[in-house]
């Protein structure tokens, strides 16, 4: 098992509990004292600077990635951190804000129910919502999801993602900023249906782990008290069943012979090379690094599908500023409310706007309601904006005045729309031809541009995101694309900051347009599997991790059957 995050931990659990002799090779460190404990001691903390120094993440100087917009671009636009999700025992789930929405029925039957879109490879998944629903139930029980299904809106949420049983825990306390944004949603015309997001954060003691105490530093921080464990719940079962966990073990090549993977070559933190044989090899390094490893391994790829159809969600970021009060979004679970009306292709006006853009339909995505920044993020935003506002003196007393005003922190109410990102063959991960990491291996190169679908959906929904904040009572409002592109030069960031990486090893029955089969087995090798979000054929319009885990559970059970 290469990787110990959300997908890898689940697959390791299934394999170990089925009697396989499992070795989990994790590139990063292990910041837990004993993963067989329900709530191990950890060395994560409420320390914004630690994250800024890339703790438990790839170092962007030693291990950069490159980013460009077009296949024809000779030079990257950016070299450094690109979607730099954690590399550590537990993977990205040590840092997530633990939203656990389910994908909708239309995600799994997208081509059949919604139809094709020119230029994109829209397709059905190998399974339906009905097949994955019990696995969602199972993962929600395993990692501990809090929420109230009776409070979920019948339209559109429960109609597209019906539930058979309640969640294991009631919801935690709502955040003020989220409540304010939710009220704006209700006042919108047409009114939206905001609700308390199901989240994999304990609201009560659960399975030996404590209740969350609302410290506020979820997203981008490890949980100091283990009220949010994510992949560790599965990893605990894997190790308890006999799996061996080896941190600081960086797999650099999958070895093959004919149609078989024979094992992996890995190097330790001192650069020494080792070999681990295996009857079965599973890649679970998140979409970017799984593809990079496949390319470094020179795996057979007769149809050129490895690394294609990369998706990362196309976010729209709304900001509302309240000058009359502090919203203290630094307290509580990061953004407690969501609304997913914009994920509905039949949201009023959406079909007509799509058709005006030459599309049969489009989807925005779920809204996370009520986010903010912490002081280092806030200060660096002012630092940048002061170079535009005060080029002669972009520092000093006015900077401190901005910090004391807290307009982009304590008085801020953010909304993020997680826009569905269609699978395009030309959005890819491959190896950069020039840039190498500190050990001399080519780094991952991301080539990405939003398509007509993403841009039309953003064009339609961006005014709504801003309007929600106006109706919520914000005194100042804006909404911008998260990332720059040809079509969106004015954006919040040079490269996407969405942390939702999917595709590249997509599942499918046709090897001409997919890299893995209908259970995540590599088409060209009989015993090489993938257990992360790279197998997603489409991206959905919701946070992906619960679906990564449920998909890994489904597929791994088929591997051992």
């Amino acid at each position: 098992m290469v990787g110990s995050g959300a997908g890898g931990a689940i697959a390791a659990m299934v394999l170990a509990e089925a009697g396989y002799d499992v070795v989990v090779l994790e590139k990063g460190d292990n910041w837990f004292d004993d993963v067989t404990r329900a709530a191990p001691r950890s060395w994560f903390s409420s320390d914004e600077l630690k994250g800024g120094r890339h703790f438990a993440k790839p170092d962007p100087v030693a291990e950069p990635r490159t980013y460009r917009w077009h296949q024809s671009d000779a030079e990257p636009r950016h070299v450094g951190a690109v979607q730099d999700l954690p590399q550590t025992v537990g993977g990205a789930s040590v840092h997530w804000d633990a939203k656990t929405p389910r994908f909708w029925d239309i995600d799994f039957r997208k081509l059949s129910l919604l139809g094709p879109i020119d230029g994109a490879d829209v397709t059905d998944w190998p399974f339906s919502y009905d097949e994955i629903a019990p696995l969602y139930d199972e993962v929600e029980g395993l990692i501990g999801v809090s929420g109230d299904i009776d409070a979920l809106p019948a339209e559109p949420t429960l109609r597209h993602a019906p539930r058979a049983r309640p969640l294991p825990m009631p919801p935690g306390p709502p955040q003020l900023a989220s409540l304010v944004a939710a009220e704006g949603c209700r006042k919108l015309e047409p009114a939206l249906h905001p609700f308390l997001a199901p989240m994999a954060i304990n609201s009560t003691e659960y399975d030996g782990r404590p209740a969350c105490n609302n410290c506020g530093q979820c997203s981008n921080h490890g949980c100091p008290i283990m009220a949010r464990v994510g992949a560790l719940a599965a990893l605990r079962r894997a190790v308890t069943a006999g799996a061996e966990l080896r941190e600081r073990s960086w797999v650099v090549r999958v070895e093959t012979s004919g149609r078989k993977a024979t094992g992996v070559t890995w190097i330790d933190d001192r650069g020494r090379q080792h070999h681990e044989p295996g009857d079965l090899v599973v890649l679970a390094c998140l979409a970017i690094e799984t593809v990079r490893l496949a390319k470094l391994s020179e795996l057979p790829d007769p149809h050129g599908t490895i690394g294609t159809h990369f998706m990362q969600h196309w976010f729209t970021d709304g900001t509302g500023i309240f000058v009359g009060q502090r919203l203290h979004a630094h307290r509580g679970r990061s953004t407690t409310h969501v609304a997913d009306d914009f994920a509905d292709p039949d949201f009023p006006g959406a079909r007509a706007a799509a058709q005006a853009a030459g599309l049969p339909y489009f989807r925005g995505g779920t809204l996370e309601l009520g986010g903010t920044q912490f002081p280092l993020g806030e200060a660096n935003t002012y630092r940048f904006l002061l170079t535009l506002l005060r080029p002669d003196k972009p520092f000093g007393a006015e900077f401190k005045q901005l910090m004391r005003s807290s307009v982009l922190r304590d008085r801020m109410c953010g909304i993020q729309m997680i826009g569905e990102d269609l699978p395009y063959r030309g959005n890819t991960v491959d190896l950069d031809p020039r840039v190498k990491d500190y050990r001399g291996y080519p780094v991952a190169r991301i080539t990405y541009s939003p398509g007509a679908h993403e841009l039309a959906a953003q064009g339609f929904y961006r005014p709504y995101v801003a309007e929600i904040l106006r109706r919520a009572g914000a005194d100042y409002v804006t909404a911008v694309p998260d990332a720059a592109s040809d079509a969106t030069p004015l954006a919040g960031n040079e490269v996407p900051t969405t942390a939702h990486v999917m595709g590249g090893m997509r599942m499918g029955t046709d090897p001409a347009v997919s890299a893995t089969d209908d259970e995540g087995r590599f088409h060209q090798l009989d015993n090489l599997f993938v257990a992360d979000g790279s197998v997603f054929p489409t991206s959905g319009a919701h946070n992906p991790t619960l679906t990564i885990m449920a998909t890994a559970l489904r597929n791994a059970r088929r591997w051992v059957a």
Binding site: S45, R248, P375
Partner: protein, 198 residues
């Protein structure tokens, strides 16, 4: 000066002189949120690869500081520290170019400002933000584990607390909202039959 941001920068540049290096503060808690012990003060060991990354980074930063401080002195007429506030500002506004900086950092003043921000608003264990005073100045509570917050503190408003949007605050708000989209059109009539899934 009160935040000891300069101490922070010296601590950063000398981080690998200590064992464990002062790169990543420990966890899970400091002693500010109800814990009797400050775990953050016990810095974390680095694996060999990470240590090498930081050695290279700190070598580059050391070179940038040596060059940048020299340039600031020159721009301020020979001695930056002895120059008038106006001359100091003028020198800083030049944002001198120095070698070996990451592409995202535009010059030495930019680097200095970034590090000063970290030294002011980071957790105090890194050597700055003395006593958490800079957090207090912006009404930020800092790390609060293991005490956390009560439900009411999460949900309820603390009451009115207006800020006056004048000067730089007004200018900034105008800039960040300058590209705000107009309100969406009024909704069309209810849609007809669709291809929604059941």
């Amino acid at each position: 000066r009160e935040a000891r941001a300069a101490d922070y920068i010296v601590t950063l540049l000398d981080a690998l002189r200590e064992n464990p290096p002062r790169v990543f503060a420990g966890g899970p808690f400091s002693d500010r949120g109800g814990s009797e012990r400050d775990d953050m003060a016990r810095f974390l060991p680095l694996n060999d690869a990470v240590k090498e990354h930081w050695r290279a980074r700190l070598d580059d930063l050391g070179a940038a500081y040596r060059e940048g401080l020299g340039q600031l002195d020159a721009l301020a007429g020979g001695d930056f520290a002895a120059a008038s506030p106006a001359d100091q500002d003028a020198a800083l506004a030049q944002n001198p170019r120095v070698p070996r900086l990451p592409a995202a950092i535009s010059g030495f003043t930019d680097l200095l400002f970034r590090h000063t921000i970290e030294g002011c608003y980071g957790v105090p264990e890194y050597g700055g933000n003395a006593g958490g005073a800079m957090w207090r100045s912006i009404e930020f509570p800092g790390d609060v584990q293991p005490r956390g917050y009560e439900a009411g503190e999460v949900t309820d408003s603390d009451g009115p607390d207006p800020v006056t949007a004048t000067g730089i605050v007004a200018d900034l708000l105008r800039l960040v909202t300058s590209t705000a989209p107009e309100s969406p059109p009024r909704p069309p009539p209810a849609p007809g039959p669709t291809s929604r899934a059941g």
